[in-house]
């Protein structure tokens, strides 16, 4: 008799809860192998170019990151950039969520806010940064730019989430005369939460790109963007790569931690399957 097999077992390399499946590699081993492949490609390219000023080798970059990390200034710079960009992101997520509530339930407000949304989405980020240089102090430009980049993403997605609420559940709520506040808390909000989460995932990447661009153009004191700008001015390509690598790590960790928390919220308050999975 043939033993029963799961669909996961039938596909070589498919992982079950991150563990090794029959005939395949674990998720982590796979990721490590991929990273190693690209490091080798980088190393080969650097060796082929042969000039550190054009393309430094990975080892030189890692050594530079290590030497930077030994200074207090490095951590202060990273922390300040993180605080500025995270502040813009969090404010945009909150504002986008609140505006979405209004635009989803008041059609007039949808019409009223739509042109503003279109203008923000169509305007190049550089225009906003230059405008912010005129309007604001250098320290608040990254927050402002991140805020503007994230706001329309969260707003539009959350708005769509509210509109996606199941009509049959809403009819049930009317039949059982559920108070409006309860309908909002128990049906609308959980329906919008997965959309809000997806928007935050997309928005986090945008916030970092726009925020660092603002720091570069605004030459914000004690910022990763200014370090990247200085590296460009003094042709310190190793520094440019080192700061970019640090920036990538911080933005990825920020995004992962935020999504981890939001997904927990989804499992608890929205459609996240069985509670036991939390």
């Amino acid at each position: 008799m043939t033993p029963s097999t799961t669909s996961a077992e039938k596909k070589p390399g498919y992982t079950v809860f991150g563990r090794k499946a029959k005939g395949g590699l674990s998720k982590w081993a796979e990721a490590a192998l991929c990273a190693l492949f690209w490091l080798l490609v980088w190393q080969a390219a650097a060796a082929a170019v042969g000039k550190e000023v054009l393309l430094p080798a990975p080892l030189a970059v890692f050594q530079r990151v290590a030497s930077l990390a030994a200074t207090g200034e490095f951590w202060k710079t990273c922390a300040m950039s993180l605080v500025r960009i995270a502040a813009g992101f969090v404010l945009a997520a909150l504002a986008g969520g609140v505006i979405a509530v209004f635009t989803a339930f008041v059609p007039f407000l949808r019409t009223l806010f739509s042109p503003a949304l279109s203008v923000i989405r169509a305007t190049p980020v550089a225009s906003f940064i230059v405008l912010a240089l005129v309007w604001l102090q250098s320290g608040s430009i990254p927050s402002f730019t991140s805020f503007l980049m994230v706001l329309p993403i969260v707003w539009l997605n959350t708005h769509a989430g509210f509109l996606s609420a199941d009509g049959e559940l809403l009819e049930m709520a009317r039949s059982f005369r559920m108070p409006r506040r309860k309908v909002f808390a128990k049906i609308y909000l959980p329906s919008a939460l997965p959309y809000f989460t997806a928007a935050c995932g997309t928005g986090a990447g945008m916030a970092w790109k726009a925020g660092i661009a603002a720091e570069v153009l605004g030459r914000t004191a004690l910022s990763m963007g200014k370090e990247i700008y200085d590296a460009k001015i003094y042709l310190e390509t190793v520094d440019l790569f080192a700061w970019t690598a640090v920036l990538i790590v911080i933005s990825v960790v920020f995004e992962k931690l935020m999504l981890l928390w939001l997904r927990r919220m989804n499992r608890r308050f929205a459609y996240g399957g069985a509670k036991d999975a939390v």
Partner: protein, 190 residues
Amino acid sequence: MRFEHLNAAYDGKWVLQDFSVDLPDAGRVCFFGPSGCGKTTLLRHLSDRMTQAGLRVAWVFQEDRLIPWLDAWENVALAGAGREDALSLLTALGLGDAAIKRPGELSGGMKRRVAIARALAFQGDALILDEPFKGLDHTAKENAAQLLIRLGPPLCLLVTHNREEAALLSDEVWMVDGPPLRLVRRQKAP
């Protein structure tokens, strides 16, 4: 209660055409007829009219319509019951152990019983049941029917195309046909 001139059409086809009906103030009436003849549409219109007249109408929908991210007891409590009352109703329907499970973790029959518990928790003036025993075994059907008779409001309107279910819950069966829906005959439940 008399309901007159009920009309409904879908895709240009009459489902209810100037349909009028006299309902008793109390009793359990079963509309028995083939699928697609307009029974559910009739229930919707009767529910709307009763609501407009100020009555509180509880529903057991054909689909369970349970909120997937809430526990079974929370779904019941949404109809206005406290936690203890919700738990008692679920226990009476044999779902004491499933009260803290979400609908995704329940079988079709269990979800059906949660929907019945929710309708009872509402304590309405009328109860409308659209194929209420779908997915239940005979014992569970009998148990649910007895609870509905004991705890349900004075007026119960039931739609089914299953004779056993009609006999279990109703004291009068109205045979219908359509569309458009028409009353064929009325008889006491077997």
